[in-house]
């Protein structure tokens, strides 16, 4: 009688309640996974932050190199170097006689300031209104 009470009658559709050890194991697994999630998240954040720092360092390095190259170009274009190269390599010197001529062509435009030294142009806003602006316009006809 007692055995018949413990086991559900076949075909009645009743489920057997799980044994306590199974419940405990499942609960432990759930807790473990729950505890693991922040760890995975933290690890992922650490990796991403590390990548960001590495990229920032790379960006700073590239900027430093770019500026160094800009100044190197400026030094290569310095008047004293040009004169030295002209005299030493091309054997050039000041003219002994100056002849002036007129030419039937407009003078070249004055040298423009290199763009990197000019102020950045302000960003132009998009001509088409944003969704938010559309909603505000619809609400306030």
């Amino acid at each position: 009688m007692a055995a018949a009470r413990r086991q559900p009658v076949a075909g009645t559709g009743m489920l057997r309640s799980p044994a306590l050890p199974v419940v405990l194991i499942l609960a432990a697994c759930a807790i473990g996974i729950t505890a693991l999630l922040p760890l995975i998240q933290s690890s992922s954040a650490t990796t991403t932050a590390g990548d960001v720092r590495a990229l920032e360092t790379q960006r700073n390095d590239q900027q430093a190199r770019l500026r160094a190259l800009e100044l190197e170009i400026a030094q290569l274009g310095s008047l004293s170097r040009i004169e030295q190269e002209a005299a030493a390599r091309f054997k050039m010197g000041p003219p002994k006689i100056l002849n002036y001529i007129t030419v039937d062509a407009p003078a070249p435009e004055a040298r423009k300031i290199p763009g990197r030294y000019l102020a950045e142009e302000p960003r132009k806003d998009s001509d088409s209104p944003s969704l938010f602006e559309d909603i505000v316009d619809w609400l306030t006809p």
């Binding site: 002036y100 039937d104 030294y117």
Partner: protein, 580 residues
């Protein structure tokens, strides 16, 4: 039995009280540490794992009028060492030995700079390059870190040294335009706060707060690097040729007041500033605006302008030169002690007659004469905005009623007894070249802020003489040049005007230095429509001191090279061929 129980209870209570007392002490101590002294300990703990760096915005560049950089900034790194990390002598010596070949600093010097310091972190060397910084990073030494900084670089070398100035270790301008424009060039500093590990490296996921530094603005000057170099080269050549002690050359555009070149000698080296003593420091002074001198005969232009503008004389008004002029029992003579007889007013200028200048000033009278001296900007700032500019001195009946005498005006009329800066003298000629309109000297053309550009418009100081007076004076200046030997002054293809000057050198405390002169030439070119006003001033030339001999040839060389460079076509027969 009852007595034993009572004894046990007493002992238990003793232990309990002792435990409670100890716990109380611990709680009190914890309260002190965590509540009362919280801030102090929190700050100490924060210092051990949180760093706060000051971020400097990239210092703006100084550019010439065509955009060529005269001064720029290069990223560099400062090597910082924690004092605690090098507290152990053996570890410090090993770390310093590893750093030394890369940083280029002797290890003993590095160890000494850290061990002698009481602050948390010490910079052992500054201005390391990117490659040096990378090599040091790879060493991974504990307590050693690199702080981003920048280094000032002068692509044109020492060009315009006194005008540009230099910056200190903290990247703040100390002299010249670097100092005058420091707020504009320097930008705004920012801060970076971050948690770091035991090696001093930034933690990937730690506290991090950054207030970004704002970069400085780029400043476009009115200086032209080619003309500046031309001015310096000719100045050096003239000083070398005449064995002079120094001098100045300034070039400006009369119509705008834009300074194209400003050079003085002796000068200092901005690329490697030597500040070891006051005499070295004095070399950084921009003498074109900070030092005054008696302008001498070039000042006769002002006297002549006064007399012509008041309508007292015309260019061909006759005058008889007796060779002497008396004022207050003093006798004034010409520079060559000559008596020239019948002369025109133009000849007073072309022959540079002191007696004639004194006569013209007397015709005008002190009130009018000094009014014109004031109009031409003597005795007051030119408004250039350059730091350290002085005003010079002019004694007038109003400013010094007790001791001023008529002879003072007589000597002032030919540029003695008053002092002016080279820039003031040049601006007077620029006003004549610009139809009587005096412009304020301008050194900054544009400032490119991150977002907008501020353009500096030319600013007029005022109409100092009538346009027709200015035209007459220009013609007279042309006559002056015509009278100079072509071997000394002959500008091929262009007609120019000018005035020579030879003045005694004053000494501190009054009086003149024997046999010491300042020779100068003040000129404009081309004469019919001047685009250049140039002053060449040479201090204490050896041998013949006359401005015609010493300074005029330098003016010729400068103008001959500068006018074609500025696309000014020649006006005379130098035009040898024409293509159609």
């Amino acid at each position: 039995m009852r007595g034993q129980k009572r004894s046990t209870t007493w002992r238990v209570w003793t232990v309990v009280v002792a435990i409670v007392a100890v716990a109380g002490v611990l709680i009190a101590r914890l309260g002190q540490l965590q509540i009362l002294d919280h801030r102090e300990y929190a700050a100490e703990a924060r210092l051990s794992h949180v760093s706060e760096d000051t971020l400097s915005g990239r210092r703006g560049a100084l550019l010439d009028r065509n955009g060529y950089p005269l001064a720029g900034s290069q990223d560099s790194f400062d090597l910082m060492v924690e004092t605690k990390a090098w507290s152990d002598a053996k570890n410090a010596a090993e770390a310093a030995a590893a750093l030394s070949p890369i940083a280029g600093v002797p290890p003993e010097q590095m160890v000494a700079s850290v061990s002698g310091s009481s602050i948390y972190e010490v910079p052992v060397t500054r201005g390391l390059s990117y490659d040096q910084a990378q090599a040091i990073r790879k060493l991974g030494l504990p307590g050693v870190r690199l702080m981003a900084s920048s280094r000032r670089v002068y692509p044109e070398g020492n060009l315009g040294a006194q005008l540009l100035g230099f910056v200190g270790q903290d990247n703040s301008g100390l002299t010249g335009l670097e100092s005058d424009l420091n707020d504009v060039l320097g930008g705004a500093k920012g801060t970076l706060t971050y948690e770091r590990d035991g090696l001093g490296n930034q933690l990937a996921v730690g506290e991090r707060q950054e207030v970004a530094a704002q970069p400085g603005a780029n400043v476009v000057l009115t200086i032209d690097r080619y003309l500046q170099r031309l001015a310096e080269t000719e100045l050096d050549k003239t000083i070398d040729k005449t064995k002079a002690t120094g001098g100045s050359v300034i070039m400006i555009q009369p119509k705008t007041g834009e300074v194209l070149a400003m050079a003085s000698r002796p000068t200092a080296d901005v690329t490697k500033p030597d500040l070891s003593d006051d005499s070295k420091l004095a070399l950084f002074r921009n003498k074109a605006i900070t030092d005054t001198y008696e302008p001498g005969s070039v000042f006769k232009l002002v006297t002549m302008a006064c007399a012509l503008d008041l309508g007292l004389v015309g260019p061909y008004t006759p005058w008889h030169d007796l060779g002497v002029f008396r004022a207050d029992n003093w006798t004034i003579r010409n520079w060559d002690y000559s008596a020239n007889g019948d002369q025109s007013v133009t000849q007073i200028l072309s022959k540079s007659l002191n007696t004639g200048a004194a006569w013209l000033a007397t015709l005008a009278g002190p009130e009018q004469f000094y009014a014109y001296v004031d109009r031409f900007g003597f005795g007051k700032s030119t408004g250039s905005g350059l730091g350290g500019e002085v005003t010079g001195q002019v004694r007038t009946p109003a400013s010094d009623p007790g001791s001023w005498r008529s002879v003072d005006m007589a000597t002032n009329s030919f540029g003695q007894g008053l002092s002016a800066t080279p820039l003031q003298v040049l601006m007077s000629a620029a006003a004549i070249a610009n139809d009587g309109v005096m412009m304020k000297p301008k050194i900054v053309k544009e400032i490119a802020y991150p977002g907008h550009i501020q353009t500096m418009a030319p600013e007029a100081a005022g109409q100092v003489i009538k346009p027709e007076t200015a035209r007459n004076l220009r013609e007279m200046m042309g006559v002056v040049v015509d009278g100079i030997s072509p071997t000394l002054l002959d500008v091929q293809g262009y007609k120019v005007g000018g005035k020579t000057g030879t003045a005694n050198l004053t000494v501190d405390g009054g009086g003149y230095k024997p046999d010491a002169y300042i020779s100068s030439f003040l000129g404009i070119a081309p004469l019919d429509d001047p685009v250049l006003a140039v002053l060449v001033k040479i201090d204490e030339p050896q041998g013949t001191p006359w401005g015609t001999v010493v300074a005029a040839p330098a003016f010729e060389h400068i103008v001959e090279a500068a006018l074609p460079y500025l696309n000014i076509p020649p006006t005379e027969t130098a035009l040898v061929s024409e293509q159609r």
